[in-house]
Amino acid sequence: MTAPTRTGMLVASDLRVVSDAGPIVTGLDLAVSPGETVAIVGESGSGKSMTVKALLGLLPPGVRASGRLELAGGAGDLVVDLADPGTSWKRVRGSRIALLLQDPFTSLSPVHRCGEQIAWGIPRPGGRTARAGDRHGTREHVTRLLGEVGLPADVAGKYPFQLSGGMRQRVALAAALAAGPDLLIADEPTTALDVTTQHEVLELVAGLQRGRDMGLILITHDLRLARSRADRVLVMYAGRLVEEGTAAEVLGDPAHPYTARLAACDPPLTHRLAVLPTIPGSVPAPSSVVAECAFAARCEFAIPACRTAEPPLIEVAPADPALAEATGGRRTACLRSEVVRTIEHVGESAAEPAAAGIPAEAAASPLLTVRGLTKRFHGSAVPALDGVDLEVTAGESVAVVGESGSGKTTLARCVVGLERPDAGDVDFHAGSGARGAALARRVQIVFQDPYSALNPGLTVGTCLAEALAAAGRPKSEVAGLLTLVGLPEGYARRRPRALSGGERQRVAIARALAPRPELLVCDESVSALDVSVQAQVLNLLSDLRRELGLTMLFITHDLAVARQIADRVYVMRGGRVVESGPVDDVLGAPEHEYTRRLLASIPQ
């Protein structure tokens, strides 16, 4: 049983990555054929980014790789020993493998013109010395590359800061393709982009790949993206490869419980689930897993054998035997894969569509009314908010969706009083006009980033006690708050750094609940979390809503999240509300052209 080497233009065998603190990737085989798209899927800490950095010799200081990399292509065959510090990466990078990074805002040099940056990568025919001579040829080449990525020639004379995120990512793509690589590695290439731009960039990459018969390794945390774009999928967990096979097979008929669970956690766009399936706990550090299945602690199928040795990666029969020949190895590292596969779509047993839930008794009284809200930031040409009207009824959950620059975050900040609007009203209970401490008891906010949500110097208990004290409540309620958000009471003594991202976000929610607010504003509160943890927090928010009769205003860029959490939804663009209504209507049968475009851009 060898790694598939049929027409592999890139074959990596026994790839390992180790840092001073312990292993990061513990042995992985990978092969890519010309024109093929291989997605490496995993949550944070899975080792997926380090894997591709190792393939290019770009590991940060203190991190070392080992293994063997074989490259085939027009320029002849090449074998690289990844452990050899003297490797000449000149022959590999650029012409054979090129890398596209996540953030287009930082991956280009800010002080060089785009054309210049693309030109750097163009190989010069007469070696490096022939520079001045073919300036005209270079310019033509740059124009051609810009054309390939769908940009006009005058972009060559612009600086990155003069371009939008999507255009920058196109420039970066042109730069990556300048030396005509056989293989492109794209590390979360669209995560930093808006959903409509994401779609355009991915279409572009797919087109270029076809035209150049180029291999593509797509690193992503997004299962939907992997399913819609990849031929084959590799699922990584805690530095290990746990499953691989064709995209349709792996994601349609998962053989590893982690893959199955992960697929189930991803909230559907089409309907609301009463309870989202979750994976309990969080991803362990690769170094803390010794002689056991890394997933065993979170696995419902685990048997004692899972905890005595790490299960090997073994071939499993494809669901459709006819496909076996064409697609190559379908492999998984699970002793219980037979059982996993017999259970149809794990978790979805609990996934009955929920009744759209506007609590009947609450329908009457509006809790929050926003009228004609306008805000322009100093020095900005366009207003952040341009006359926004919004109403939230007591007990209701309302989502505000939009892309970056839509003004949704500014709206949230105006509602909680962190930003002062230029014009318009924010009223609670239609006109009581509460301010200051009185306002604080009625509306609270949970932010996006769990890692800066809590003061690193204070214990969880101190943090909650302080929030309680500010609202005039006794310290003794700390334990109750922790229980409320599903954390053990003992967590009061911990400091934030001892908590995972999901746990920190739970504490942030508990803190916001301390003054018993009527309205909870969630500003992208689950966007920074891994999908399995995101599902946990979304479930928690639904539970809280039910138990406490909480009203929620949920700011998000993710329509699927809005689908799960909201009764009604507002779609914002450029500081205005373009469409609003019950979530089933707006997302099911959108009326505004922009909403339709948003929905169409989501990978299916």
């Binding site: 001073d20 500010a470 301390a514 003054p515």
Partner: protein, 282 residues
């Protein structure tokens, strides 16, 4: 549910040997500064008849100055003015920096504007030069000079603290505290202040080193300690005239200034790196 602790482990780094040496050295200098009267009780004894002699003379390993004072003992006694003044300067200017910088950073508006202009004005001139002018014109004396340096050092501390506060302000935990209705004074001292301690402490040490250099420069020009008092800058000024007879009279205090300031600087750099690493891991 099984919750895991995911505390990022810091790879424990060994304290570098240079740091240990620096701390020991500063400990010794500090001890001399605190109690030179006990360590070298005869440091100020003059021997006019002996006058200046070179190093290696019996009882005077580094020789004497023109008043016949022993260079070694005088240098040890000079530790006091080399440490006390700079520490007062660093602490004093940092107190101003923390008070003004925190208010300016937190409140913004007119306070911030005024603090900013004050810093601009004083930073437009080289501190050492301005200290020479002010100390020379206002009056001479060690504590006057120390006071002048406090004022001249404070603007950069105000900027430092203000910048650190402004960097903290948009953090979610500060904004959450504001939305919770927690009092501004409490936010400032409970949430902001502890997080700027590392940068303040590290900068305090760097300021001590800089103040040591500045203060001994002023003493060297005769604007610090009175004539005859034990002080390294003063010794250098005196030693300049004796380069032919006993070069050690200038070399020894010169080396002491450099070594002491280097030790403080190294400690400050190391501390700020260590605290940075901690902050990242938190």
């Amino acid at each position: 549910m099984a919750f895991r602790r995911t505390a990022p482990r810091l790879p424990r780094r060994r304290t570098p040997v240079v740091m240990i040496v620096s701390v020991v050295l500063l400990g010794f200098v500090g001890f001399c500064a605190a109690a030179w009267e006990v360590v070298v009780p005869h440091a100020l004894d003059q021997d006019i008849y002996l006058g200046v002699v070179g190093g290696g003379v019996e009882g005077h390993p580094f020789g004497t100055d023109q008043l016949g004072r022993d260079i070694l003992q005088l240098s040890l006694a000079g530790a006091r003015s080399a440490l006390v003044g700079p520490i007062v300067v660093a602490v004093g200017s940092m107190v101003i920096g923390v008070l003004l910088g925190m208010v300016a950073g937190y409140r913004g508006g007119i306070v911030d504007m005024l603090a900013g202009r004050y810093a601009d004005l004083l930073l437009a001139l080289p501190a050492v030069l301005l200290a020479i002018v002010v100390a020379g014109m206002v009056g001479r004396g060690y504590w006057v000079t120390v006071g002048v340096l406090i004022v001249l050092f404070s603007p950069s501390d105000v900027r430092l603290v203000r910048g650190a506060v402004i960097e903290q302000m948009p953090r979610p935990y500060i904004e959450s505290a504001r939305v919770l209705g927690i009092r501004p004074s409490r936010i400032m001292f409970r949430h902001i202040a502890p997080n700027i301690v590392p940068i303040v402490v590290a900068n305090l040490l760097l300021n001590v080193a800089f103040a040591l250099v500045a203060l001994s420069s002023l003493s060297y020009l005769g604007l610090g300690v009175p004539p005859g008092a034990p002080d390294w800058g003063r010794q250098l000024a005196d030693g300049r005239e004796l380069l032919g007879d006993n070069p050690l009279a200038a070399v020894i205090p010169g080396i002491l200034i450099i070594v002491t300031a280097t030790a403080v600087n190294l400690l400050g750099d190391w501390l700020s790196e260590t605290l940075d690493r901690r902050a990242v891991a938190a």
